[in-house]
Structures are given as C-alpha cells and as structure tokens.
C-alpha cells in the first residue's frame, strides 16, 4: 500500500519536474524539496507555536510546583497538569501532531527520491512499474541525467577528485555535517536551564553533536542525490526559521560559564523565572523545588 500508492506519487512528481525543466535531476531535487517544504510550512509553523507554548508551560512556576508537590502521586500529578494546561490554553498535541503529519510526508519524499534515482537494476525495475504512463514515458526518461554541478552521478556516493590531492574529498558529506549542525543549533530554542545535568538540555546537546555525524555517515555512504537533498532541506529549514524570526544565534556563541563553574538548580530556577512570561509568582514564597535542589 505505502510502496505502491504513496511513494510512487512522490517519484512521479519528482520525475515530472525533471521532465519539465529539461532533464536535470539535481535541479529537480532542489525544486521538489522546496515544493515539499513550502507545502508543509504551515505544519511547521503550528509545530513551532505548539513547542513554544509547551516551553512556556514547562517554565511556569506553577507547573514546577505541581511536579514537586505530586511527585509521588502520578494520577493527581496528571490531573493537575491537565488542569493547568487547560487554564493556560495549552494543547499537548499542538507541537507533536504537526511533526507526526510531516514525518510520513518526508519519509515518502525520501523514498520517492531514492526510487527515482533508479541507480540499481532492482530500482529501475520498480521504477518502470511505478511510473504513471499518462504522465511520463519511460523510454524518453531513462537514462536520467544525473550529472549535477561537479557530481558525475547523483545515484552514487559523491567524492571530489582533485588532481593535486592523492585522496578524494567527500564535499557533500562535509556540507551535510555542517548544515545539519547549524540547523540543529540554530533551531534549538533557548533553554530555561543552563544546567548541564538537565535531561532535556543534555538530550538536545547530544542530538546537536551526534545527529550531524549520523547524517554525514548517510551522505558518505548513500547516493549523492540524497546528500543534495539533506543539504538543501537543512538550508530551507534554516531559512524558514529565519523568516519566522526563530533562529537562535546565541546557540552558536560560546557559553559563558556560571559563577562557581557549577550552576545550581536554584540559579536555573531563577533564570527560568526571569524568562517566564507569566510573572504571577507570589513574592516571599520560595518554591519547593528551589529548596529541594540544595
């Protein structure tokens, strides 16, 4: 069902664009990536908004109080959190639902592009089966012009051979690593906590560090067409965030170390309170989490 109905739609659109522009697979990949990112832009916007409200919620002192107060009573904790969410108008699905909708689109796009590259006999066989004959003629389509810029074949892993170097350079791999790193750094929202032991901050740091390496490995070992897609989709992602004014340039700057070289949870709490948009915390009433952090 997925491979027979969904993926071929993406394959056919990509190859239709390829035909339309006169047969350049690299440019077709760029245009199709742009098209998909534009179409899914509203989902991305609502995902960002949802994530922002969730972040507000998590930095709200009442939320932390509830967590601390009912840490031994899960049912009560869930009920109180739900009540607070309703009070603040937060929909817990608003950040993850758009992602869940985008994910299959991106997977189908990725698979459709892989199928369109048809760089192996089995892929070509499947391509001939999945092309819409009313839209595309296989005899004029194959062989695909998969030369793009310095890349001789988008269906093969990319290496740039320079005459003065004894080894080839995986230029696209380097670009994928750099753009993935930049994207993840620039898109990571400012954390309320600078505590390196904060699990969410730690997870984000790990992802920012290792995800570019993982994507780089894919770019190094898989076809150049996919690496072109990775680079371009990263750049579009950064541009989308820039348009929405959500780029977090401060993440690229070296972090100043907190006094004492080990920021306490109390300091974290203070910072969270300062960044919280709901300054309704009653004065003179220290939070329990602040005490428990000592």
């Amino acid at each position: 069902m997925w491979n027979e109905l969904v993926v071929p739609v993406f394959t056919n659109i990509l190859l239709f664009i390829y035909n339309l522009i006169g047969g350049n697979l690299g440019v077709a990949i760029l245009l199709f990536t742009l098209l998909v990112r534009v179409l899914t832009h509203p989902l991305m916007v609502s995902q960002i908004k949802g994530a922002q409200t969730m972040q507000k919620l998590q930095t709200d002192p009442r939320f932390k109080e509830i967590q601390e107060k009912y840490k031994d009573d899960r049912e009560k904790l869930a009920a109180e959190q739900t009540r607070l969410m309703q009070e603040m108008g937060v929909n817990p699905l608003s950040s993850c639902l758009p992602t869940l909708i985008q994910l299959p689109i991106m997977i189908a796009f990725y698979q459709g592009m892989t199928a369109a590259l048809a760089s192996t006999p089995l892929q070509l066989f499947d391509l001939t089966r999945h092309l819409y004959p009313w839209l595309l003629q296989i005899e004029s389509l194959i062989p695909l012009n998969s030369r793009f810029l310095w890349i001789a074949d988008l269906g093969q892993p990319e290496r740039l051979h320079l005459s003065f170097l004894p080894f080839p350079i995986p230029v696209l791999t380097i670009l994928v690593v750099v753009t993935t790193y930049l994207q993840s750094k620039l898109m990571t929202p400012p954390t309320s906590s600078s505590n390196p032991r904060d699990p969410s901050a730690m997870t984000a740091n790990m992802m920012n560090l290792y995800m570019p390496l993982l994507m780089g490995w894919f770019a190094y070992s898989l076809s150049a067409g996919l690496a072109v897609y990775f680079v371009f989709t990263n750049l579009i992602g950064i541009a989308q965030y820039a348009l929405l004014g959500r780029l977090n340039w401060s993440n690229l700057m070296p972090k100043k170390k907190e006094a004492g070289n080990s920021p306490s949870v109390e300091a974290t709490q203070k910072k969270a309170e300062m960044t919280s948009s709901k300054p309704d915390k009653k004065p003179g009433k220290p939070s329990k989490s602040g005490r428990s952090g000592k």
Binding site: N3, E4, E139, P143, L213, W217
Partner: protein, 365 residues
C-alpha cells in the same frame, strides 16, 4: 554519568547509522547472477561468488573466502575453459580471473563503475561491459586490450559472433564494435535504453528489446533495420530464438511468439492472469520454455511456467511460497532448473524438469 550518557548516545546513533545504511545498500541491489557447467553452478550474489554442486546444492567454495568490506557481486560469472571470470558490482569495478577451485589468478582494476552485465568470453578475449559507459576487452590474463566508450551506462552484455561485439547501451544505441581494433563499425538508435543482451541468429540477424517495449531485428552486417514490432506491455526480458520463432514474455504475463523472419505475431498465450509478469529470459528445454513470473507489486512469491513447443500448452511447474521475488529468468543445466531469488530465505532454488524442488541453497554463515 554525563560521560556515560554521551558514549551511550554516540554508540546508539552509530549503530542506528550502520543499520540504516546497511538496510539501504546490501539487500535488493540486483538479482543473483548464474552460470553453470555440467556439475557446478556458479552464483554471484551479494558479497560472494559461490560454487555450488549442481546435484546436491552444497557449497564447494566461495570467493572471496571472507567478506571484503563493501565488495559485492551480481553479474553472472563467465566460464573460460578452466577459468571463471567474475566482475564486481562494488566500486571501483574489478574483473577477476579465478581457477575453478576459487583461487584468484589475476585481477583487472581499470573500470570505475558497477559491473551489472555478465562478462562474455569469445576466443581469447573477455568482454566486460561496465556502468562507467565503457566496454573493456581483456586478454585471458586480465590485461587490457582495448576500451570502447559509449555515451551511456552499460547494463547488458554484448552479443558476439567472434568478429564483432553488439553492444546495447543505456544511451539508446546499439553499437557494433570490431573485436580486433575496438572501433565502432556501426550504431543503431533504438529510441530507448537497452538493458538486455541482444540475441544473434545464425543468419546474422540481431534481435533486441528495449524500454520502448519493442522488438527490433537488425542486420548485423551493417546495422540496417529488418523489422520492428511493438509489444503493448512492458518488457523486462530479451527475445529468445528457437526454431525460427522469437519468444518474448511481457510484464502482463503474456508470451508473444513472433516470426523471426518478419516479426509477425504468430501467437499470444496468457501464461498467468493473476497480475504476474514475466521477468528475464526463459530457460530453453528440449520440449519447451520455462518462464519466471513475478507476482504483482508488494506480493512476494513467483512461479515457473512451462510452455511446450509442440502445442503451446502451459503448465505451472513450480510455485514459490510468499518469500522473496524473481527478477530474472531461470537457468537450465543438466536436467536441473535453477532460479535466483531476491530477498528470500534462500538466494537459489533448484527443481527437476518437472518442477519438483530438489534443493535450495543456503550459504553457510
């Protein structure tokens, strides 16, 4: 603790990367390539070339003995007397001469693309068509005699009469190449990529199929067109010539029987009507042909259907369970029918000529 988490994250992602990239590359690249003599079948599949006892299906040897990095083999090997010629799918493409006990004798490393097509041995020449757009002519010791460049990837083996090679290319052309000089004699524009080896008749007629779903007959002397016949279905096969008739199976599961003289359609026979399509060339037996049919998309399994010469009767010889797919035709050798399987539990099964399975090959771990 922090250090441990970092290491854990790194290892997890590295493992994920390895698994995902392996998933995308190792399986489902091409189909097993087969060649056989009277006692042994040689199969190129994934990381090895196997020598398998034709009667028992037991592994005699494999080349290389241990998997070598990303080295892969799919092109059917070629027999040259007491030598087996194997060609790498992995990059850069290599052609290797092996003794019939699996010892490497020489290796040619001059190609830069995949070897998908089987090497062809004619006289003292090995013709190896590569996806780097070139046909390499090698001596039997692996030294390069000449190289012929085309404008497209070469996925099909050339046909040869000992004087010329008739080379189909993805650039839509069929090239006639002089074997002495390595120069082009004539070219013919097929109008579509050609993926299968041409069939050369004794009278010098060449029959070739292409992605335009046509069968084209050419005079091998000068490349002039004799006739062409459109088949109203997709073709993933070459034409098989038997007693003045051409047999072509299409992807709708229909066998077309054409007159080799003028291309007139003599008969069409529905081999199967469940959406299965014919893949690859049929195996030629004394009394008929055996076609491999692949089931429709997403459904695994396949069938071997025999079409008899005498009365065009069709019989389902063998039905493969829902495991793996056929992408190429069967091969017959010494009363054994063999067919390669993609993504199945076993890469090769063998039946007798009645379709009863006699063994399946399971490579040792």
């Amino acid at each position: 603790m922090l250090k441990f988490k970092r290491v854990w994250w790194f290892l997890s992602l590295a493992l994920l990367g390895l698994v995902l990239s392996a998933c995308g590359r190792l399986p489902a690249v091409s189909y097993p390539g087969l060649v056989a003599d009277g006692q042994t079948v040689y199969m190129a599949n994934a990381q090895f070339v196997y020598a398998i006892d034709l009667n028992t299906g037991t592994e005699q040897w494999r080349y290389p003995q241990k998997a070598e990095g990303g080295r892969m083999f799919y092109a059917p090997p070629a027999l040259a007397g007491d030598m087996l010629v194997v060609a790498d799918y992995s990059l850069p493409g290599a052609v290797t001469g092996l003794s019939l006990s699996g010892q490497e004798m020489w290796r040619f490393n001059g190609a830069t693309g995949h070897f998908i097509a089987a090497p062809v041995v004619t006289g003292d020449l090995i013709l190896a068509a590569n996806a780097d757009y070139a046909l390499y002519a090698l001596s039997l010791d692996g030294s390069l005699r000449w190289k012929f460049a085309t404008d497209g990837a070469l996925w099909a083996s050339p046909a040869t009469d000992g004087q010329r090679a008739y080379l189909p290319s993805m650039d839509h052309k069929l090239y006639a190449v002089d074997l002495m000089t390595g120069k082009s004699v004539w070219t013919y524009d097929l109008g579509a990529a050609a993926l299968f080896q041409p069939t050369l008749a004794e009278d010098g007629t060449l029959y070739i199929t292409s992605l335009s779903n046509e069968v084209v007959a050419l005079n091998s002397l000068d490349g002039s067109l004799k006739w062409k016949k459109a088949i109203n279905a997709r073709l993933w096969t070459q034409a098989t010539l038997v007693d003045g008739k051409l047999y072509i199976g299409d992807m709708n599961g229909v066998a077309h029987i054409l007159s080799a003289t003028d291309g007139t359609e003599l008969e069409t026979i529905a081999l199967e009507q469940d959406g299965s399509g014919v893949v690859g060339a049929p195996a030629v037996l004394q009394d008929g042909l055996v076609f491999a049919l692949q089931k429709a998309d997403s459904v695994r399994g396949g069938k071997l259907v025999k079409l008899s010469f005498a009365d065009s009767r069709k019989v389902i010889l063998f039905t493969m369970p829902e495991d793996g797919k056929f992408y190429n035709g069967p091969m017959a050798a010494a009363d054994v029918l063999m067919i390669g399987i993609v993504n199945g539990k076993t890469p090769l099964i063998a039946t007798n000529l009645n379709g009863n399975q006699i063994w399946s090959f399971q490579p040792a771990k």
